[in-house]
Symmetry: C2
Subunit: 535 residues, 2 copies
């Protein structure tokens, strides 16, 4: 190939906008739930034959159900063949029939409640070993006798509490390609549960999730640095799965694996040739404020001059592993590794998207400005009994400046409606006006910090990426204005990005306090935004 042809190839756009693209962020649960169908196509790599066109003809439901039953029942001779038969049959089923089959699995292969009742009655019949101080001399001999009865029934109870479908999961796990099949099975379960909450399926999911997270314990995962020397089949997966900042062409990919950059993946031996999760790192002089300087930073600084390792993208590849946190261990191991190789690097930070900010803000602005307008009407009609409760999302000073500077761009009954109209204008027009940018900046930055730190769901950060990093033990360090001017960045978070910082010595403590109390560690700069508000 001549030089020119090579240059064309390297610049060629990769996987333009393939709808069945496997790109998945561990961070966007919504996406995870839609993925199961496209995922199947990849399932045939190891033990299972690749489902070709012909095998996509749906097999009879009864046939697949029977093979599932055989794969669970004890005395099968050729277990491998049966497991293959079942998985191929499963892949051939329609969405509806998969749901039916999973429901049968959840209900008809559940645990034996009669047996559990029997065991717990025995258990209640046991005299608890009640050893007080004065009886301590009795301990060794007699207590051991007491206890062994407890141990026996407890052990039996533990076994009885395993549903029958545990056998299928265990067998699949020891079967080539089975772990991957289980991950697809779980992705399907999650996608059904997203539509309808079915108790038995929820129980199946929670059981399978526990099993998967045991099998995928960090001890079973290998950290591998992905480089330009890796097989094309692996690099192709990196391109396919990169969820945060899509890789546009081979030059882009090569840069992300080249000087001043690192890419690490966590691999499991049962799912060879592709990482379960991977992280992209840039070695920089300072913590980056915009994603463009990371993605287009060319040429990079000499690695020995860098003091910061910036995690600018984390992507997980298996929607069926949702809720199993591989990221925490990956990040900890990467930090340890980078620290050892490059002691001059002292800061470990991210430059992260805020995927839920705009969605939250726009719906908040819409509802509050509507309430405000209604109150205005009711106020004007002097009907003071109907006081609605609404909150002005804008500080008085902010609202004034905004109303003044937006005259030529958008209208509205109040400041909130103006902001709503500005933010939803086509082509993000507001980003082209210096006046608007500076008028909007104070409110958006302040509201963004409020969203990050104060908006919670079940006591945890509402934003999925925030929640991810906080549970990994990071702190919120800084937010950056106009940090991602891409269409996606403007749409998700009005272009704002956030730096989370990891300090190895605090990771466990921060993760623990976030886990137990929901406490979020922040820099004083960040706190400043919301403290201002409360004055």
């Amino acid at each position: 190939m001549n030089k020119k042809a090579l240059a064309v190839l390297m610049r060629a756009r990769m996987r333009p906008t393939d709808p069945s693209k496997l790109a998945l962020s561990p961070l966007s649960k919504e996406a995870n739930q839609m993925i199961s169908n496209s995922q199947e196509k990849q399932s045939g790599q190891d033990g299972f034959r690749k489902p070709d066109a012909s095998s996509k003809i749906e097999r009879s439901f009864e046939h697949v159900q029977k093979s599932m039953h055989l794969a669970i029942s004890m005395n099968k001779t050729d277990m491998d063949a049966e497991l293959n038969e079942f998985s191929e049959g499963y892949f051939s089923l329609s969405h509806e029939n998969r749901q039916n089959l999973l429901l049968i699995l959840a209900k008809d292969y559940d645990l034996n409640r009669m047996q559990i009742r029997e065991l717990i009655k025995q258990y209640l019949g046991l005299e608890p070993p009640n050893i007080s101080g004065s009886e301590a001399q009795l301990r060794s001999g007699q207590e051991e006798g007491f206890l062994s009865a407890f141990y026996r029934i407890e052990q039996n109870l533990r076994h009885a509490l395993k549903p029958v479908y545990d056998v299928l999961f265990e067998r699949l796990n020891t079967h080539p390609g089975g772990l991957r099949f289980l991950s697809i099975l779980r992705a399907d379960i999650l996608s059904i549960l997203a539509e309808e909450n079915i108790a038995s399926l929820r129980a199946l999911d929670s059981y399978l999730k526990d099993k998967l997270s045991t099998w995928l314990s960090p001890a079973a995962l290998e950290l591998h640095q992905i480089t330009w020397d890796d097989p094309a089949s692996l690099l192709e997966k990196i391109v396919a799965y990169e969820a945060v900042h899509p890789i546009s062409n081979l030059i882009d990919l090569k840069r992300r694996l080249g000087v001043g950059r690192r890419c690490f993946g966590y691999f499991h031996s049962a799912i060879p040739g592709e990482p379960l999760i991977f992280i992209e790192v840039a070695l920089l002089k300072n913590v980056a404020q915009t994603i463009q300087e990371v993605l287009w930073h060319d040429p990079p600084i000499p690695e020995c001059d860098s003091t910061c390792a910036l995690f600018y993208s984390i992507s997980s590849t298996q929607p069926g592993l949702a809720g199993i946190n591989l990221g925490k261990f990956l990040i900890k191991r990467v930090i340890t590794l980078v620290k050892r190789e490059m002691p001059h690097i002292t800061t470990f930070a991210t430059l992260s998207p805020i995927p839920g900010f705009m969605q939250w803000l726009l719906s908040k602005l819409a509802s509050q400005s509507k309430l405000a307008a209604e109150e205005n009407i009711s106020n004007s009609s002097k009907d003071t009994s109907a006081t609605t409760f609404w909150e002005n999302m804008l500080e008085p000073g902010e609202e004034r400046v905004l109303m003044d500077s937006s005259e030529n761009f958008a209208s509205g009954k109040n400041g909130m409606e103006v902001v709503l109209n500005l933010l939803t204008s086509t082509n993000h027009e507001w980003t082209n006006s210096a006046t608007l940018l500076s008028a909007l900046k104070p409110s958006l930055m302040r509201l963004c910090v409020r969203y990050l730190l104060q908006e919670k769901k079940r006591g945890k950060a509402l934003d999925s990426v925030t929640n991810f990093h906080l549970q990994n033990g990071a702190m919120v360090e800084r937010i950056n204005w106009m940090a991602d001017r891409s269409e996606k960045g403007l749409q998700q978070s009005a272009g704002i990005m956030v730096n989370y910082v990891y300090r190895l010595e605090n990771i466990e403590e921060y993760a623990q306090s976030y886990f137990s109390t929901g406490h979020i560690h922040t820099s004083s700069d960040i706190r400043h935004y919301v403290e201002l508000q409360s004055h």
Copy 2:
């Protein structure tokens, strides 16, 4: 290095007879229980610092106990440091203090029986969903409601049935070097249990074993062919752990990794640089009848002429993994691999030692010949009331020939005593006489088959190697006279060795029937030996 010096090096005896040698067969449980102390020395490779001379100074028991407590209690910030502290402290303890600490772990960090009682009372209070045919229409909605209460308490029960020490195991498993430490911990537990059966420690062991076998599921293990190109640090481990036929020097090792030979290991990413179990394979024209032709077969036949893959040695390296069957999956994977690479190989067999044969035979001969002698005396004193029960281990014809041919070598009141004296003579003198060899052969071969097929412990083959291969799905194919004339071979099994045969298509069926009924599949040749007897 000149040629001569190299030749000397290659022939130099490796690790002469090091008492702390790590050589362990999965097959000899006795050995497994003695190993824990020597094992420790290797534990420092990954996360844990290598315990050097100074750290072998015993730390105070209270200090180690406290670090164990901290490693379990929730809110520790620097978990890694605490786990290191605990493991280092543990290694420094004496045998007695380790036992004390493990007892504390088993008892004081057991499960919360109050909580279990509470949950099972709730459980008993639930109305079981009793759906008869006529009520089937109620199913979907109402049943799901019923069930979700069950699911919730069952899930809670599952969690409550986890002892507190589960936390320690889980944390160690995610800690670098922790899996290895857990395996050493279990080796210690087993060695204590071998001396004394303590119910709480037995429960600890059984729980830890379950955890280890989940973490070491075949899906988490990688098969690697070990070759002369592997690092010396790995090859050194092969030499150290080879338990069946010790490797004498580098030439011996190189031959076992060279043409006509294969060596495969199962590796886990958390225990890098050494296999958990490995198998040595010889590619031969026919199933070998003596181990000498395998070990000294020089030059080997061209690999393309081979039709048999002979497994002549299987060694496991971690005594703490006793009872976790890694061998079955290893053998299945090796067969599949060899079959794919060399379709001309159609027979998969072992040439295996019979480690328990002589021990069983000698004790049987001693007790029965004593009983026979006593009955003789009582018969001569005409006291017919005292009839003892004894069994002549020899057939009448065998006994006659033996008494005739042994005159110059050994004496005895009966045939059994003669055989006993012959077999226990110094330097195995009997093996030097053609007369004795041919006189002893029929009885020893017959009794060996009886030992292999008919002597059982809890319904399973008494011989540990036999039990190992049968539970893996092999059949007993042939026994071979004077197959191992080494000191060890004569001592263990009077030089007899056995071929087990694996047929891929029968492995699961045979393993299953042996597991459920204890049935042993054999060739008709083998059956012949014991059928003769019953005529």
